[in-house]
């Protein structure tokens, strides 16, 4: 396999819950609770899970957009947790993010040209003519007319805005892109346009993607490997094909069986999970999934399962596998 681009060890993000007049800390929401990951250059790592599982918080803490509580993040061999604020800012030239909501993530008072040249200004790249040229070529590259640079965000549709968001992330020529639900807000016909665009850009610019999403069909389509998260923890990690062909964790199985398949003749055994997600402020003891797991046994309620390689390149955290 190719070189390691990003290595994450025991990453945690706990948000304090503050209560009362003096805002004392009454507890913690364990949004991300121990993530170990290796991301290889040029791959797409999909991260799936239900809302509240910590997938977005994880994506953001990798760039230190939310400051991790503890853990190590090595990017190209460098420990970025040790960087100062300004050093980290420089580092983000290499690591960019695209957000879910194309309506909220563009400044409505900036023209598209301003939005796209701002990152270059911050990083003191190029002079103003060269910046303009780069904006134009970037717009063209993401399938928009270069003349759009003088327009404002409200003049664009959701799909077009998402293309702008992608162009903004790309303009610095990063190595790693974190895509946080980039197509969730788009209609199917437009969603596929954006997915194809992301695939082309990855080829052309040799990008590495961390693709955070809840839509399993989309994640399967675009990812080489997939990480399944639940309540801030890792449940399973395997190659995309392997995960779908042979899911090992009971949660993964339930998740996959719940996806409606657009084929009326496919009849599947569906595993219906009972109940709702427990609160991440008060996660269950032992395996965090045991409260909804159809196979849970005594050991699951007491001991946290170990993260181990159950098959070649197929990691899972479950006592019963």
């Amino acid at each position: 396999m190719s070189e390691v681009l990003l290595e994450v060890k025991n990453l945690k993000k706990h948000f304090p819950i503050r209560k009362g007049f003096i805002r004392r800390t009454a507890g913690y929401v364990r949004a991300v609770d121990g993530i170990d990951l290796t991301v290889y250059a040029g791959e797409t790592l999909g991260v799936v899970g239900e809302s509240g599982c910590g997938k977005s918080t994880m994506g953001r803490s990798l760039l230190r957009l939310v400051e991790p509580t503890s853990g190590q993040i090595h990017f190209q061999g460098k420990d970025i947790m040790k960087l100062s604020k300004s050093q980290m800012r420089d580092m983000r030239r290499e690591m960019q993010i695209v957000f879910q909501d194309p309506y909220a993530s563009l400044n409505p008072r900036y023209t598209i040209g301003q939005t796209l040249s701002e990152p270059m200004e911050i990083h003191h790249l190029h002079n103003s003519t060269a910046r303009k040229q780069r904006v134009q070529s970037m717009l063209e590259r993401v399938g928009l007319d270069p003349s759009y640079s003088s327009r404002f965000p409200h003049e664009f549709s959701g799909g077009q805005r998402q293309r702008i968001g992608i162009a903004r992330a790309l303009v610095l020529n990063p190595k790693l892109m974190i895509l946080d639900e980039p197509v969730a807000a788009l209609d199917v016909s437009v969603q596929s346009q954006v997915i194809n665009l992301l695939e082309d850009l990855q080829q052309d610019f040799n990008l590495t993607y961390i693709f955070v999403a809840h839509d399993l069909s989309v994640v399967k389509h675009i990812s080489n490997r997939i990480l399944v998260m639940y309540l801030g923890r890792m449940m399973e990690l395997a190659s995309s094909n392997d995960l779908f062909a042979d899911p090992l964790h009971p949660y993964t199985r339930a998740l996959l069986s719940a996806v409606p398949i657009p084929n009326p003749r496919v009849k599947r055994e569906r595993i219906i999970l009972q109940g709702d997600l427990p609160s991440p402020a008060n996660p269950p003891k032992g395996c965090v999934f045991h409260t909804r797991c159809p196979l849970a046994q005594d050991v699951c309620r007491e001991k946290v399962p170990e993260w181990r390689e159950a098959k070649h390149n197929h990691m899972v955290a479950c006592h019963l596998v």
């Binding site: 549709s157 016909s189 069909s217």
Partner: protein, 326 residues
């Protein structure tokens, strides 16, 4: 068929925008048979939600609604508001996408279910309370006695949607209109809710009009499907017709655009290029023609009507099907 639950004929909905009326829904016709689930699919802005609101007359006053919505021999569009109110929530009920906003935050769950019963049925508050409790059990709410006494904010999204279903089903309606009922929910919760809706429709024989953009949900739930694009139904047929013998280029485009979770090999997605035209600038001919690969001069100039495909139920609004019909 004479005994359809609902028979919609050339429904038009127009909205006034800056002095001009524009069609949000144009010439929409469909029937819903007893016990069947009809899916209304399409992308945002295609008019599927406006259609559903028009059926129960919940659109704003400024909307101009014409056509015929026949329910038990009456045209709902001609009924006085009083009679409409007796039908709405009683014989035809609705659930909406946002379980967070469709419940009243200051009333307890028990009161909200009872309200529907008290309004439509001649029963005492005590009986209404008992029946509400029964409904909660039926929709699979754990600790129903406690939940009766709780407020919506104490419940999760999936639970709130169950409550909405309990309210909608309280009076045992003939038709349930479900507008994107699972879009705001996670997949595992979505699976629970779909299972519940299927069970209820089977047990009580309720017809469902299911409005969604998710073709997976359609395949799972529906008997027949109507595909909408830019305010019109472009294709209509049984679920097998739509998934295995799609005729309209838009239907085909939609099916090709979604990633297949059961695909062995990775295939490139085939998107539909371009965007849906805005309501104020609809193309003159076929509304899909600007995005259609097969569009001819005739498509751009002349609106196609419906052509029958292989059986009387399968209709496609495309000139390409004209030749096949003849």
């Amino acid at each position: 068929m004479a005994n359809s639950v609902l028979n919609v004929e050339s429904l038009n909905v127009e909205f006034n925008m800056e002095g001009n009326y524009f069609h949000a829904v144009r010439d929409v016709s469909f029937k819903i048979e007893p016990g069947e689930t009809l899916g209304l699919v399409g992308e945002s802005g295609c008019g599927k939600s406006v259609t559903s609101l028009a059926l129960v007359r919940l659109l704003t006053q400024s909307a101009r609604v014409t056509g015929k919505i026949e329910y038990q021999g009456k045209n709902l569009l001609d009924l006085p508001e009083r009679d409409m109110r007796d039908i709405r929530g009683n014989e035809i009920s609705m659930i909406f996408q946002e379980p967070m906003t469709s419940l009243n935050p200051v009333y307890k769950i028990g009161a909200q279910i009872s309200e529907t019963l008290l309004l439509h049925k001649d029963i005492s508050p005590r009986e209404a309370f008992q029946q509400s409790l029964e409904m909660l059990k039926k929709v699979g709410i754990p600790r129903p006695e406690d939940i009766m006494d709780e407020y919506p904010h104490q419940l999760s999204g999936g639970m709130r949607q169950r409550i909405m279903i309990a309210i909608a089903m309280a009076c045992n309606p003939k038709l349930l209109i479900a507008d994107e009922p699972t879009t705001a929910l996670d997949v595992t919760i979505q699976a629970q809710i779909l299972e519940l809706m299927k069970g209820i429709s089977k047990d009580l024989g309720t017809s469902i009009l299911l409005i969604t953009h998710d073709l997976g949900v359609v395949a799972e739930m529906c008997d027949r499907v109507a595909v909408m694009y830019a305010g019109q139904i472009v294709e209509q047929g049984s679920v097998d017709d739509i998934f295995f013998n799609p005729q309209h280029p838009y239907t085909r485009g939609l099916l090709n655009a979604i990633p297949k979770i059961d695909a062995e090999q990775k295939q490139r997605l085939q998107p539909i290029e371009g965007n849906v035209p805005p309501i104020t600038r609809m193309p003159k001919g076929c509304r899909f023609s600007p995005r259609c690969m097969h569009a001819s001069d005739r498509c751009r100039a002349q609106q196609p009507g419906f052509f029958q495909v292989d059986n009387a139920e399968h209709l496609s609004r495309c000139w390409l099907n004209e030749a096949k019909e003849a």
